[in-house]
């Protein structure tokens, strides 16, 4: 029965919402900077899926164009983020987000 149904854009929007939720929860729960970073990537890709689903619903190109911008920006963010995380891991191997507590108050 379910197999016979044709997926429409609403299915993809629900999937995007679930992926975004997994990413957001993961960011709050996990303590490894790299895993937190992957969760953010998951959120950005959920946004992409959401944009594409809406673009297909409207038959409009603007949403798909937005995805290209998000992808390029996400790539730039990965480079910078990995750079910062590598430099902190060199100074303090195995550091978790909870260990980063030099600055507080």
């Amino acid at each position: 029965m379910i197999l016979a149904m044709v997926p429409n854009s609403t299915w993809y929007l629900l999937l995007a919402a679930v992926l975004f939720g997994i990413g957001a929860v993961g960011l709050l729960v996990r303590r490894n900077p790299l895993v937190m970073f992957m969760c953010i990537e998951l959120m950005l890709n959920a946004v992409n899926l959401s944009f594409v689903a809406f673009a297909v619903r409207f038959g409009d190109i603007a949403g798909q164009t937005a995805v290209f911008f998000v992808m390029v920006v996400a790539a730039a963010e990965v480079v910078v983020g990995l750079g910062i995380i590598v430099s902190i891991m060199r100074r303090r191997p195995g550091a978790t987000a909870d260990d980063l507590a030099e600055l507080k108050g």
């Binding site: 953010i40 689903a53 998000v70 902190i88 100074r91 600055l103």
Partner: protein
């Protein structure tokens, strides 16, 4: 779908480009490449020239901003009205370029003596400024997002600039993780806005939202977009990164973040509220009201218990952000919509002068004391009366004491809120008034150290303030004083007509 795309491709014609209107951005792009290229081919001993070159690039970009303002023929639209250069955009571009110039003056000696990567620093700073200048003109969800990332990504690197310092690394990683998370939330909101209105252009979104009652997804979209930008302007409860990042980053970078990045966040918030959500007052006004109240109160209460001057200024800048949010919380009520834009722009300009000035004093004094504690300012009046005088100007202005600039800024904000005339607006005004008094307490505590306390360890050798820092102090002190005495200079900037002029046509 493919056929539709091909059909759209067939109709494509090159957009008309107004080179004069784009000149500030183009000069910055050329300047970025120039600084990068010269930095590659110059000896280590002559790297100091990069700061001078960066200063000239910023001044060169300032020239077309002035000529555009002088010609003054209302707004120039490009790319189907998605990129607009009007008076509102020009005054903001001028603020960003001026702030960047003062930050270059402040960072010059710090970078030179610390042996940090000077050329790369200025390249990244110019990239960030380019993003801010673009933000002022962006009238489309995609260009707002690109401008926001262009200004944030270099900022993540600048926060972690002292690579071998664990605290600077920590500042960078905290700023990065929360900043990118905020971008993702903002983008998800934007995708909903696009999905429920069928357009990414702010004015068109505004028209669709105005045409009927809001549906649930649109409410969620507005809430997500405001929450995403609340991170950028470090509004409570999204402020947790700000004090840590401000303390860990090099001090000139902190000054840059607390003024320029924050202003850019407010610009995005203003464009969205006035162009895309002007009719959704029932959604954004209560949200921003709560944000404003929390931001100014929590920022102030936390600032009271700080002993580190940079951290205190960080919380003070959080609480100042609450005051800047105030006019936006009543932007759709009564007469307030006319004066809200002006109140925010005037506050951003005056705040830029006084906050940069306070950081310049901190840089100048900590060159001697090598300490970030508020007590290290003890006896400043005894050995550096000039520095004590300018610090008094900045602290009193931040506290909002007439006749300094900060007073005019606060006056405008209160006037807008009173104009709104609703119960919520009056409540907001009362809370803000109480907060102004609390804020005075911690600014005065610094002044007490400066004027009354003895120097720590009896060390009264005079300060050796380098010329660029002195210049930065001069610019910011004069700005703070002049705008306080002659507020008419800026009060005509940023009428709502400038921003929403595109709506009328």
């Amino acid at each position: 779908m493919i056929a539709a795309i091909v059909a759209q491709l067939g109709e494509w014609t090159a957009p008309v480009i107004d080179w004069h209107a784009l000149a500030p951005e183009l000069i910055l792009v050329v300047g970025i490449n120039l600084v990068l290229f010269i930095d590659l081919n110059i000896g280590e001993a002559r790297k100091w020239a990069m700061a001078t070159l960066t200063g000239f690039v910023l001044l060169a970009a300032f020239v077309p901003v002035v000529t555009l303002a002088v010609i003054g023929d209302a707004s120039r639209e490009m790319f189907d009205g998605r990129y607009v250069v009007d008076h509102y955009a020009l005054i903001l571009k001028a603020i960003f370029l001026l702030v960047a110039y003062v930050v270059v003056l402040m960072s010059q000696n710090e970078l030179e003596e610390g042996g940090y990567y000077q050329g790369e620093f200025y390249v990244l700073m110019l990239c960030s400024v380019l993003g801010m200048v673009m933000m002022a003109s962006s009238r489309d969800l995609v260009s707002i997002f690109v401008a926001l990332e262009l200004l944030s990504i270099p900022a993540y690197m600048m926060a972690a600039w002292r690579k071998r310092d664990v605290r600077s690394n920590e500042a960078g990683v905290k700023y990065y993780l929360l900043g990118v998370f905020a971008s993702a939330v903002l983008l998800y909101g934007m995708s909903f806005l696009y999905g429920t209105t069928g357009s990414t252009k702010l004015v068109e979104i505004g028209e669709v939202l105005a045409s009927g009652d809001l549906i649930a997804m649109q409410v969620v979209a507005i809430a997500f977009v405001i929450a995403g930008l609340a991170f950028k302007v470090s509004a409570v409860p999204f402020h947790s990164w700000a004090p840590d990042t401000y303390e860990g980053a090099p001090t000139p970078v902190t000054a840059f973040f607390s003024v320029a990045s924050k202003a850019a966040g407010f610009v995005a918030l203003m464009s969205l509220i006035f162009l895309a959500f002007p009719t959704a007052t029932g959604v954004y006004q209560p949200l921003i009201w709560v944000l404003a109240v929390l931001t100014m109160t929590v920022g102030n209460v936390m600032a009271l218990r700080q002993t580190n001057i940079v951290r205190m200024l960080a919380y003070s800048s959080v609480s100042q952000g609450g005051f800047i949010l105030m006019p936006l919380a009543v932007a759709g009520t009564g007469d307030a919509s006319q004066s809200a834009v002006r109140a925010v722009i005037v506050y951003l300009l005056i705040y830029a002068f006084m906050n940069l000035g306070a950081f310049a004093v901190v840089i100048a004094v900590s060159r001697k004391t090598r300490s970030g504690e508020i007590t290290s300012f003890g006896g400043l009046f005894g050995y550096a009366p000039g520095m004590a005088a300018v610090m008094t100007i900045f602290m009193a202005s931040l506290a909002g004491i007439p006749p300094l600039g900060g007073w005019i800024a606060k006056f405008n904000v209160f006037k807008t809120v009173i104009d709104a005339g609703s119960g919520a607006a009056y409540a907001l005004a009362v809370i803000a008034a109480v907060n102004t008094v609390i804020a005075a307490a911690y600014y005065m505590r610094v002044l007490r150290q400066v004027w009354m306390m003895p120097a720590p360890d009896g060390d009264i050798t005079p300060l050796a303030t380098p010329a660029p820092v002195t210049a930065a102090l001069g610019i910011t002190a004069i700005g703070t004083l002049v705008l306080g005495v002659l507020p008419g200079l800026v009060l005509r900037f940023g009428d709502l007509q400038d921003l929403t002029g595109a709506l009328g046509r």
